[in-house]
């Protein structure tokens, strides 16, 4: 009896501790949303009360006009969407090849995929910037300030890590499936296309979300390779709320909420796939 009570007390303590940590963890996000419903004057004076008598929904309307935020939003969606599609399909193909075949050069390829992660992005930044200038000067083909320039760079950057995720996922699917399919008369490609691809949907979705979130987050290259607001992405555009003389914290927080909440919604609709996909390979090391 007494050990039972002792155990339930300690269990209660641990549960409370867990919930305290959970609440502390999500507090900054709630604070962002809460702040976005204040006027700028209230924010500058410092908000120290947790009640909100008059929510300033107008911030969510003003943020779109003040800096033309809709354009940045559209650019981000376009660039990240295209990157996800491209890098995702490359990762599926190459990941499958690496998981299933021991072809000459596969070791070298795996090594080079890992080593790309070790190279600081900045080392690519200068050459790519100059290369883009060179292409423009030599062929008259604009690369800086274009969608395809950004998509090209992002696709190349997120492909290697996505190959790793896809590869771990394919390794977790038993080999017998393709073998029995080939016995039934499928070609290698048909076995991949008809049997393995549908089965690896959780992994593909996980990889896709991973690529999208990473691209949505990219700032350094976007900042250097785009100078016109026609192609600039959200992380570049959002700084316009921070002025030299006055910072529109109300609009800044509203915009931050607007760029965070949609990805959160997408993420939580697919998180089941994401978690199974990400952990399929990760836990095996």
């Amino acid at each position: 009896m007494s050990t039972h009570r002792k155990r339930s007390v300690s269990s209660f303590m641990l549960t409370s501790l867990t919930w305290v940590i959970v609440i502390l963890t999500i507090f900054p996000i709630l604070w962002m949303i809460f702040t976005s419903l204040h006027s700028n004057d209230q924010i500058l004076n410092g908000i120290t009360t947790f009640s909100l008598p008059k929510p300033q929904w107008v911030n969510y309307i003003n943020m779109w006009d003040t800096v033309n935020f809709a354009v940045y939003f559209r650019n981000s969606l376009l660039i990240c969407g295209a990157t996800t599609l491209l890098a995702g399909s490359f990762a599926v193909l190459a990941g499958y090849a690496l998981a299933r075949f021991d072809f000459p050069g596969s070791k070298l390829f795996s090594m080079s995929i890992i080593s790309t992660q070790l190279i600081p992005g900045i080392m690519f930044l200068f050459p790519i910037y100059l290369m883009f200038l060179w292409i423009k000067n030599t062929f008259g083909l604009p690369m800086i300030n274009t969608y395809w320039g950004m998509i090209l760079v992002y696709t190349a950057f997120y492909t290697p890590i996505s190959i790793w995720i896809m590869r771990s996922f394919f390794v977790s699917i038993p080999r017998d499936l393709e073998e029995s399919a080939t016995i039934d008369g499928c070609s290698k490609f048909q076995a991949f296309y008809k049997i393995i691809l549908p089965l690896s949907l959780p992994g593909i979705i996980a990889t896709g979300i991973f690529i999208f979130l990473t691209a949505w987050d990219e700032l350094l290259f976007a900042w250097v390779l785009t100078t016109s607001s026609d192609v600039q992405t959200i992380p570049v555009g959002i700084r316009l709320f921070v002025g030299q003389y006055n910072t529109r914290y109300d609009l800044l927080m509203a915009a931050s909420t607007v760029v965070t909440v949609p990805v959160m919604v997408i993420f939580f609709m697919t998180q089941k796939y994401f978690i199974s996909g990400m952990t399929a390979g990760a836990v095996k090391g």
Binding site: T18, F124, P127, S168, A282, G285
Partner: protein, 326 residues
């Protein structure tokens, strides 16, 4: 994200090595076809710029030679020597601070996210009311874009911000409201948000790792009289070691190359975040683009890459047995 190493297929005793090689290439035609798009992309956007970056590190590149940058004057090791010994080199300015901060930042963040992630995974692995809601809520910070993390925490760290309100007005930890975005406190202003955003992901990974450990070995250990702490130390940790090894490497790389949080917390990288807020990536970008000295910038990033290779070497030696056991 696993570092799987697969066993080689046994190669049968064959007439000649090159014949075997040719046969293996022929047999794997399908695999090569699958790799083609990736290989083309990686040659164009990884290998080519990398070679070019390497070459640029031996050139004198400034605003005058940039136009025909591949024909810029060759200066040999001057960029490297300038970075190491010449204090007038513009890219070098403030690099000492950036290196110190990057080391402090990446060590504390990496250890912080690993410990917090593991602790939270252990807490979440229990059955308790609202567990699935708690798990979902825990993941929220990981989805927040890191530039928003910089903006949001930069706002919360302000002198009359919410953090000082809690620390001073509620908890009375300080007499006066401290400045967090100025002076030595700055390093905490960038470390804490990074940990905050990073550890939910590790929690998910560790949680998945914990669930692969069979329940009965714990029961056996309990019968043998091993306490919880001992079970954790002697069973849970060793079982998680391969997962820890891989995540550790990814964390180190991520944190050394961290850019977004600092750059949005302090005026989008254009400004100087101060002696205690500057990281290698922000410093190198600002100085190289500020002075158009891409040669020195390239040389610095190559040295950084070699430093990282050494870190990976140490990492590999430390975890070799776990990685090969897979």
């Amino acid at each position: 994200m696993g570092l799987h190493t697969e066993k080689n297929l046994p190669v049968k005793a064959a007439p000649s090595k090159s014949a075997v090689w040719r046969k293996r290439v022929r047999d794997n035609k399908f695999a090569y076809m699958l790799m083609v798009p990736t290989i083309i992309f990686m040659l164009l956007v990884h290998l080519l710029p990398m070679i070019q970056g390497f070459w640029m590190s031996f050139l004198k590149l400034n605003q005058f030679t940039l136009g025909k940058y591949l024909k810029a004057p060759f200066v040999g090791m001057d960029n490297y020597i300038g970075l190491l010994f010449n204090s007038d080199n513009p890219v070098r300015q403030g690099l000492n601070f950036a290196i110190r901060n990057t080391v402090i930042y990446s060590v504390i963040v990496t250890i912080g996210v690993m410990i917090m992630g593991l602790m939270m995974a252990l807490l979440m692995n229990r059955d308790f009311p609202g567990r699935s809601i708690a798990r979902t809520a825990m993941l929220l910070p990981w989805v927040v874009p890191s530039y928003v993390v910089g903006v949001l925490w930069g706002f919360m760290w302000q002198q009359n911000g919410i953090i000082n309100y809690f620390l001073v007005d509620v908890l009375h930890l300080f007499d006066e409201k401290p400045f967090w975005l100025l002076g030595p406190n700055t390093i905490w202003a960038i470390i804490i948000p990074t940990i905050w955003r990073g550890w939910p992901f590790l929690m998910v990974i560790f949680l998945a790792g914990l669930q692969t450990i069979p329940e009965d070995i714990y029961e056996a250990a309990t019968i043998d009289g091993a306490g919880k702490l001992r079970q954790f130390w002697n069973m849970t940790l060793p079982m998680l070691k391969p997962v820890i090894a891989v995540q550790l490497l990814f964390q180190i790389i991520n944190n050394v190359y961290s850019y977004n949080i600092v750059s949005t917390m302090f005026g989008n990288g254009a400004g100087y975040p101060g002696e205690w807020g500057d990281l290698l990536m922000t410093a190198l970008t600002r100085q190289s683009f500020g002075y158009w000295s891409f040669g020195s910038g390239s040389a610095a990033s190559i040295m950084l890459m070699f430093a990282m290779l050494m870190v990976v070497g140490v990492w590999y030696r430390a975890f070799r047995s776990e990685l090969n056991a897979q």
